[in-house]
Amino acid sequence: MTDTERHDFDVVVIGAGGAGLRAAIEARELGARTALVCKSLLGKAHTVMAEGGIAAALGSVWPEDNWEVHFRDTMRGGKMLNNWRMAQIHALEAPDRVLELEEWGALFDRTSDGRILQRDFGGHRYARLAHVGDRTGLEMIRALQHRAVEIGIDVFMECKIVRLLQDDQGAVNGAVGFFRESGRFVTFGAKAVVIATGGLGKAWKFTSNSWECTGDGMALALWAGADLIDMEAIQFHPTGMVWPPSARGLLVTEGVRGDGGVLKNRDGERFMFNYISPFFAAETADSVEEADQWYKNKRDFRRPPDLLPRDEVARAINSEVKAGRGSPHGGVFLDIASRRTPEEIRRLLPSMYHQFKELADVDITTTPMEVGPTCHYAMGGIRVEADTEATTVTGLYAAGEAAGGMHGSNRLGGNSLSDLVVFGRRAGLAAAERALGLPGIPEVSETQVAGVTEHAMSYFANQSHEDAYAVHRDLQETMQALVGIIRTEAELLEARDKLAVLTERASHCAVEGNLQFNPGWHLALDLESMLAVSNCTTLSAIERRESRGGHTREDYPGFRPEFENVNMVTRLVDGEYVLTKEPKPRMPDELATVFEEGAH
């Protein structure tokens, strides 16, 4: 048996982005001995890439904003598939979480009277996003990181968790992983585990996601017997870079449009006016003249369609390109150069200016950007109880992108950063409460630990010509081509069959080299996660025979009432992926009035 290092904690948090950091801070402050385990160095998680802002009804720009309007916008943006209670908690608590970040040192941009400035974003009725230029995620992760360091949380960096450990009753009581630097295995005993590992974009070819986003936490939960919900709901952000090829997929913040940027096709036409769905027609400007008035007078004019929710804009761009009206490199144009002065652009969007200048040789103060959809976010994820983030497995909690429900079938921009801190805190709280109520030290099964380490090591013994890089490339091609922004039954079935072949191939991957910082080995293990979540996404996408939010079926256009209140639930039963359709929690009638009032 391989030697493993052993640590015991009350709470182990896996993932150190916004959700994981916030969960660990809460657990620690409640007195739980807390470990934070992350696959990269501390402070490098995908949260740093968040650009536009954190949505919270602070009301510092629009006093008429409040949690009910935010709740309504979130539910409508998610095409009502959201877990209503999560959306409610989120809207209620986001302002406190933003102010708390400020108390921990974050410096948000200010209004002229010194309060937190808020910015317009798609689907938000009022300017609602607290922000720091276009690098809000960095500000947030740094504030949380400093706080975590200040209160002395034990951080285990560059540590990949391979499997969770469970007691005889199935309750999670630890995790096994290894340090990437040395390859040395480590066992964590834990009374509660919080999964905060983020998303799964690396299963697609064109993605805004960073290296780490391989669906690890969703897969860990799945393997431990937890339910995943609505995995078909993948957000393709409408504006990713399309050129140069190596930068394809890189995010272009929605803040460009919030600050006045508009979408144009090859002919210079502002095509978004041709794509206003009836669902949003009442609140959307239907002419260029009205839309342009809105930038100056937001009270009396309706919002430009460029700021429709992301699923709507992504589909519109996709259609324009398909119709042959795209830009030279297969996107459309995003023009802020003709709408703002160079000084304003550099001040409001410094990272975007830098990114295009450095990577594409494009000066966005003079030239329109070329943009197109990029795989950005998983709305689906681990099924959790709204108030505690408890999964369907005892002792296991989940928060942030790894958890499902909050965003329904489409997430509004800015609602992710707030999701991280609102539900990160609640997950940390619930995990700490469980852990502090349990006596003793968790007894982990040495047999389980040995099974995990042997499995992880098995790739070194494999004798084949299969390598993880090739399987990963083929997986990305498959998901991009067959489980992309527009889906059909035939392609999804093809994807399902291909995934079976890829899963088989991945299990034979042979790894060269030794245990020390070996990316080929790390990828082989990450592939296990990516394949698991890709399977769940594909299965759910086959079964949701309608179009809703981030899930668009060419063969089933539009909403269908029989899917309105249904979650697609995937779980593993005897090693097989099983899908069931289960009713989602029903919203109380008194909340429905929010939608009536908000409709005018």
């Binding site: 160095l41 102010l99 400020e102 951080v155 630097e181 140069p244």
Partner: protein, 299 residues
């Protein structure tokens, strides 16, 4: 295929009459704490690629166990720091088209930190220093539960908050790059930026000046501006963070009232013109950029 060239750089330039694509040689440092050497990999760069793309392709096709740290590939996380042709840079923000292709492109790990494997170094020193920084201590909120700060009072702090912790400034700082023994008593440019950010934060109430002077070793910095030169976020580390910190420390010994005033307004004190000139002059006597180390010199 990997071609082991041994210690002597011997690749003859391969003139290509019709670029692109031109075949070129990437000379990567391979090894671990016990030693290593440069190995050459032949690659064909594609349109618009950055160095990290090419390193990834080498990994995927020629050297699956090549260790390299990276996350975002967008210049936002600061993970992929290395020395490219001797210059400390982010691999993800260095376009191949900006590098000369008539000779091998050398990529070596950051020199100021112990090697773990290949291009990955042990940067734990930085995380240890981070634990020593006296944390942010804000004043109480206004009666309505909010904090108010003028944008002008946080502009400087926001500049410092752009730091992505790539540690290139630490890597290139002579105080620790050339003198490992200074590490226990020297925080380094990244943490002077952090300390300046705290000291200039309009809400902060703590006085860290004695600590910065006594324990963070700011006196060892002789403002050569190497850190500023390599900062991928264009933070004016020397001028805006280190020099004002040095000024405040000197000030505090003579003028506690001025310190208190600044603490209340949150505004950094303007440098007296003569002093500003003096500092700029001093900096200009130093090399504008770190001299490229000889390949393998630090390995």
């Amino acid at each position: 295929m990997a071609i082991d060239t041994g210690p002597a750089p011997s690749q003859a330039p391969q003139p290509s009459p019709e670029p692109p694509p031109a075949d070129l040689v990437m000379r990567l440092w391979r090894g671990d704490a016990s030693g290593g050497r440069f190995q050459d990999y032949h690659v064909t760069p594609q349109e618009g690629e950055v160095v990290l793309d090419v390193v990834h392709r080498i990994q995927a096709t020629q050297a699956p166990d090549l260790a390299v740290r990276w996350n975002c590939k967008a210049g936002k996380c600061g993970s992929c720091s290395a020395e490219i042709n001797g210059r400390p840079r982010l691999m993800c923000m260095t376009r191949m088209s900006t590098l000369p292709t008539d000779e091998p492109i050398t990529i070596s790990p950051m020199r100021a930190f112990p090697i773990m494997r290949d291009l990955v170094t042990d940067v734990s020193y930085n995380f240890e220093v981070a634990k020593l920084i006296p944390a942010f201590k804000p004043r109480p909120r206004d009666p309505d539960g909010l904090y108010r700060m003028a944008q002008v009072d946080i502009d400087r702090g926001q500049e410092f908050h752009k730091c992505i912790e790539c540690f290139l400034c630490q890597n290139v700082c002579h105080v620790i790059r050339d003198h490992e023994d200074n590490k226990p008593r020297y925080a380094g440019p990244r943490f002077f930026v952090r300390l300046a950010e705290l000291e200039m934060h309009p809400l902060d109430t703590l006085d860290r000046r004695d600590y910065i002077h006594r324990d963070m070793g700011i006196g060892l910095c002789n403002i050569t501006k190497c850190c500023t030169e390599v900062c991928p976020e264009d933070i004016h580390i020397t001028d805006n963070a280190i020099i004002p910190l040095k000024e405040r420390i000197v000030d505090s010994r003579y003028d506690p009232v001025a310190w208190l005033g600044r603490k209340i307004t949150g505004r950094p004190a303007p440098l007296p013109a003569a002093q500003a000139r003096k500092h700029t002059g001093a900096a200009h006597q130093q090399p504008a950029a770190p001299a490229p180390p000889k390949p393998g010199a630090g390995a």
